[in-house]
Amino acid sequence: MSEAALSGPSRRWVRFTPVERGARALVYVLTAVAVIWSLRTIEIIPEFLYDAPEQTADLFVRMWPFDWAFYPKAVHAALIETLHTATLGTLLALVLAIPFSFLAARNFTRSGPLNWIAQFVFVSSRSVNSLIWALLFVAIFGPGPLAGTLAIAFRSIGFVGKLFGEALEEAQQGPIEALTAAGAPRSMILVKGYWPQVEPAFWSVALLRWDINIRESAVLGLVGAGGIGVALDAALNNLYWDQVGLILAVIFAVVIATEFVTSFIRSRIL
């Protein structure tokens, strides 16, 4: 709200300044232009749309009833593998992200270029999707959960590092100055000055990411990186839709269960 708009002789009350209104109008126009441009140029094959309702109905008819016998045969082991991939990947990401978070925190590392390098690592990690990370690691380490674990870890570094770095920047300087004045070595300043202040933020970020990683690791198998996605990929390629339905139901159950676990931990411990 601007002062000038309030204190005219006529006292017309205006919520936004002309610049603000102009900027907003510009955004609306740009949005409209972007949407119209996309609608006009995107390639959509209308022939595919004619039988979409039948195809969708067919999909659900073929899925039901689920092939329950498939669960003990192939799904259970893959599911356990997925859970371990997500958890181990998250732990690895925490370990890898911590040094970069300290580099990124401007109050801890007082060097512009170093902050910038850490930010670059975070952005690269986050802009490459976990599936694409998985593709790269499958090419390097071969198919299997090793590639999946590393993909999860590398994708999570940016997320964990950015949020943890921000938590570090918000840390109070008082305890740190006190420790410095007492002559504490730098490692002790970290452990006793920063860590107690950022510990809750750290664990809540870790928990949040673990929740996301459970979902993500379920699809890594589509590119060969292990877990339940491998079973899903096989079922899809064989057109065994009843197995696909079962796997989707299992993923759904796991995601719901994870949500309960994380909200329980959050309400009890954090």
Partner: protein, 267 residues
């Protein structure tokens, strides 16, 4: 520190050991070793992989910038941007009513709970899985990708929007209601002015996130740069893969800055 700890018995230690915490750390370490052994994450494999990795990186550099490849890159990137724009636009449009329906302070219980249930279902599947189902339903191409991302947009934006509506002040809503305004007027004059800024914030965040995800739905047939990337990968054109990855990272960086600007205009 030692001088402080030994002088006088009043304060034996400035920082006493916290055994439960230490045990938790040991537990995490043991779990990591156990999980690594189960997943066959072993040192020899890792070292062997590093060898492969060096060869892989060697084939990636320098990035391929031949004109025909760049034309492919441009087509794919434009399609990804279109997928992101359209899915964000329609997803956000649909999230507005869904989020209002899910707000417990505006709607009767059964409405908000069923809306919240729908949101939970929309949220629980990874957009790649949704994309697979849409590829089966509407065929290969950008449309499947758009629809998959609309689903994830609705899941994210309408949940946060519903939470924002629940956190708003009811005083203004009651004031508008007291004038005898219709429900739509209450929404337009009492509710939306309070939550619109946050709604636009979530939407710009989702635009950013849809751009990231639009690079991925192509892997399962949902169109965009992901399809180009997957083809290049399967043909072992690793140098072109690197070009595509760099282009994606550049696009996301630009989008992140742009989304930040957008948010500032509306706050």
């Amino acid at each position: 520190m030692r001088g402080l700890a030994t002088s006088g018995g009043l304060r034996a230690k400035a920082f006493p050991a916290r055994w439960p915490v230490r045990l938790a750390w040991i537990g995490l370490a043991l779990y990591s070793v156990y999980a690594a052994s189960i997943l066959d994450v072993t040192w020899p494999r890792f070292v062997q992989g590093l060898d492969n990795g060096a060869r892989f990186l060697g084939r990636m550099f320098p990035p391929n910038i031949a004109p025909d490849k760049l034309a492919l890159l441009q087509t794919g990137m434009l399609e990804s941007i279109q997928i992101a724009v359209l899915s964000t636009f329609f997803g956000v449009l649909l999230s507005l009513p869904l989020g209002l329906l899910a707000a417990r302070n505006l709607m009767p219980g059964w409405v908000s709970w069923s809306a919240r249930g729908l949101i939970a279902v929309l949220r629980s599947f990874h957009s790649v899985i949704v994309a697979i189902l849409f590829v089966k339903a509407v065929g290969f191409g950008a449309l499947a990708g758009i629809m998959a991302l609309i689903v994830s947009t609705m899941g994210f934006v309408s949940k946060l929007f519903a939470d924002a509506v629940e956190e708003m002040s009811m005083k203004q809503v009651e004031a508008v209601r007291a004038t005898g305004a219709s429900f739509m007027s209450v929404l337009a004059m009492g509710v939306l002015p309070q939550v619109m800024a946050r709604f636009i914030g979530f939407s710009t965040y989702q635009l950013d996130s849809n751009l990231r995800n639009s690079t991925m739905v192509g892997l399962v047939g949902g169109g965009g740069i992901g399809a180009t990337l997957f083809t290049a990968y399967q043909r072992f054109d690793y140098d072109f893969v690197l070009t595509i990855l760099l282009a994606i990272i550049g696009l996301i960086m630009v989008a992140e800055v742009g989304a930040g600007r957008l948010r500032r205009i509306f706050q």
